[in-house]
């Protein structure tokens, strides 16, 4: 390689090898920039039309290809000399002069006159070609930064806009309630959701205490589902310390278990809506009967002088012990384990009724000193 006869040509080939490596690196980075722009735009569109997306997450995802490209550039080996010689012929229309000369440089021994001529011609053109290396564009297409930049800016702009989900929430809030459309198909379909105070009325009964009004229709409350923004509701895994809320959840869990969904302890608005078709088949008589059973238990507990909180707990406990495989761990006296009336007649409508009733209890307890 240090042969002075081949020094010019070898120097050219080496320079082209470096240039080729640089060109490929630039192309890799440019490609990663394009991918970055596409990801940014896609993230922005996702945020705008499908689901609210975190800007930080989108930015991290968009930066991943650039990081990958930079790593590839760092660890990429330079192309071999034969490839560089071929590239020289391609770039400068050498008609395989440098490739042939490179072959001859590698071959030891005596060369024929024609081979000497080829090597001499390669040496002669090497300085001229070397001067022209700088004129070779490092990247084959124009404006490699512009398009990725535009895409990225578009993506960032879209991320700043309110998402469709947020708009839906905002619209619901302006109607008096915050409803997640994905958890409540009724809201998603634009139906009006009455507030609890309108759909459930509570009146004082001297014998039974506070019970829901007979005018309350369990079916009318189905569409509303259960909303986590409503006071007293909670998300899965949350441990509630308030005994009233625990009571409500116990009853709700019981309801889910009887309905064939063990462990359904939390927000099941969407599921309730899905189950509505089944509940309608089970008939309105079952709903009414179950409602009466609940009220009967409450009256009985009140007559025994137990508080409302205890009533709620015991009600839930008794109801739960009436079914098999319940996940509720409340300690229940054996004598009160005979409540099996809800099995088979429980419907999502009843579950909604119980849920509404417990929420009303919560509300009343908060208002009382």
């Amino acid at each position: 390689m240090t042969n002075p006869r081949t020094a010019d040509a070898m120097s050219l080939i080496d320079a082209i090898r470096n240039r080729l490596w640089f060109q490929r690196s630039v192309e890799a980075v440019a490609a990663s920039l394009r991918i970055c722009g596409v990801i940014s735009l896609a993230g922005g569109l996702y945020h705008l039309f499908i689901h609210a997306a975190s800007a930080g997450f989108v930015v991290i995802m968009a930066l991943m290809p650039i990081v990958g490209a930079l790593l590839a550039v760092m660890f990429r080996r330079r192309p071999d000399l034969a490839t560089a010689a071929r590239t020289a012929d391609v770039w400068f229309d050498g008609k395989n002069l440098m490739t042939s000369a490179w072959d001859l440089f590698q071959r030891h021994g005596r060369h024929s006159s024609m081979e000497e001529l080829v090597m001499a011609r390669a040496r002669a053109v090497a300085p001229q070609w070397r001067q022209r290396i700088a004129s070779v564009r490092p990247i084959r297409y124009s404006h490699p930064i512009t398009m990725p930049l535009i895409l990225t800016l578009c993506g960032i702009f879209l991320l700043q806009l309110p998402s469709k989900e947020w708009l839906t929430r905002f619209q619901s809030e302006t109607n008096g309630r915050v409803v997640y459309h994905d958890r409540n198909p009724a809201v998603a379909h634009g139906e009006t959701v009455p507030p609890i105070s309108e759909s459930v009325s509570v009146h004082e009964n001297p014998e039974t205490g506070r019970i829901p009004s007979p005018s309350f229709s369990p079916e009318s409350s189905l569409d509303t589902g259960v909303d986590p923004s409503v006071p007293g509701t909670r998300q899965p895994g949350h441990v509630e310390s308030d005994p009233r809320v625990a009571t409500r959840d116990s009853v709700r869990q019981f309801a889910g278990g009887i309905d064939g969904h063990p462990g359904a302890t939390t927000n099941k608005g969407g599921q309730s809506a899905n189950d509505r078709g089944n509940s309608e088949e089970k008939g309105e008589s079952g709903v009414a009967s179950a409602k009466l059973k609940v009220e009967e238990i409450i009256i009985q507990r009140k007559a025994n002088g137990q508080g409302a909180d205890d009533t709620g707990h015991e009600l839930a406990a008794e109801a739960v012990t009436g079914k098999q495989g319940s996940a509720v761990t409340t300690t229940i006296p054996p004598a009160q384990h005979a409540q099996t009336a809800f099995r088979g007649i429980y419907t999502p409508a009843l579950r909604a009724y119980i849920s509404r009733y417990m929420q009303e209890l919560d509300t009343q307890r908060v208002q009382q000193p």
Binding site: K95, N96, S100, S113, M114, E115, E116, L117, R121
Partner: protein, 335 residues
Amino acid sequence: MNTNVHISEQRLQSVYSALCRLRTTLQGVIVGQATLIDELITAILAGGHVLIEGMPGLGKTHLVKGLAACTSLNLSRIQCTPDMMPADITGSEILIGDQSGHHRSEFRPGPIFAPLVLVDEINRATPKAQSALLECMQEHQVTLAGKSYALPQPFWVVATQNPIELEGTYPLPEAQLDRFMFKIKVGYPDDKALLSIIEVSLDNEPTEKLGTVLEKSLIDEIMAQSREVVVAEVVKEASVRLILATHPESGESASTASRRHIRYGSSPRGLQALLRAARMHALLQGRAQVAFEDVRKVALPSLRHRVLLNMESEMDGVDVDAVLIDIINQCLPES
């Protein structure tokens, strides 16, 4: 060392200028057939034989006559007919009586004993007569009665055939076709070329006025130089890929076009012909090394008669040139 390079450069330049002169001279008398002239010069000076296929009256015979005139080589013409016998080509032994009354056999060489042989309408000769050419073209010798007679050097056979004539013709077998380095198709000249033909050859025979452009020593020099033209490894590898791609049974090397249309691919002799012709083509361009474009230029005439289309493609009228162009584009990089 610089002196040697300088001499090599001068030799190359002299060869290049001589080739340019030959080309220009022939283009002056055979108007509108520049490609035909280039391909003929390439194949002949690369030491190969040429099969020219074209309609009557396109100047095939004139071209060969002009080449003979420019190279000062003896031209021998064999007009093939169905009743031609091998001895009519190779020659035969005849009995000659001397004055003492004794008779002895003496070999009378046939028309094949000439540096440049024009075999006109070769497909009208019977297979028996065609086979007489096999040994001559490959071995450059004639064997008769157990005795071999060497043919003159250089020895070139330029055969012509008419593509539309079917009755009373005998298509050349594959073994015979493989002996030809090039199969050149003569196209029809355009209107400007036709006007030039009128001006050049309306009242006289232009080939008669041609003088010698290449002396025999220069021809030998050109042929020797063409053998020294450098072929880079990548060019050799690309040529091998090209030949393998014409074989439908060569696994991954086979191209899609060959799998669909070709029954038999090119022989190794085709590869030799390809690279020899590419070297000569490079010399025609004044280069000392073969480029991909040289291989690309000579690939079609080198291979079109060495690949055999399958029955379906024959029935569908698929052009072998189109199939080969597909394969060439796939195997050889663009220049």
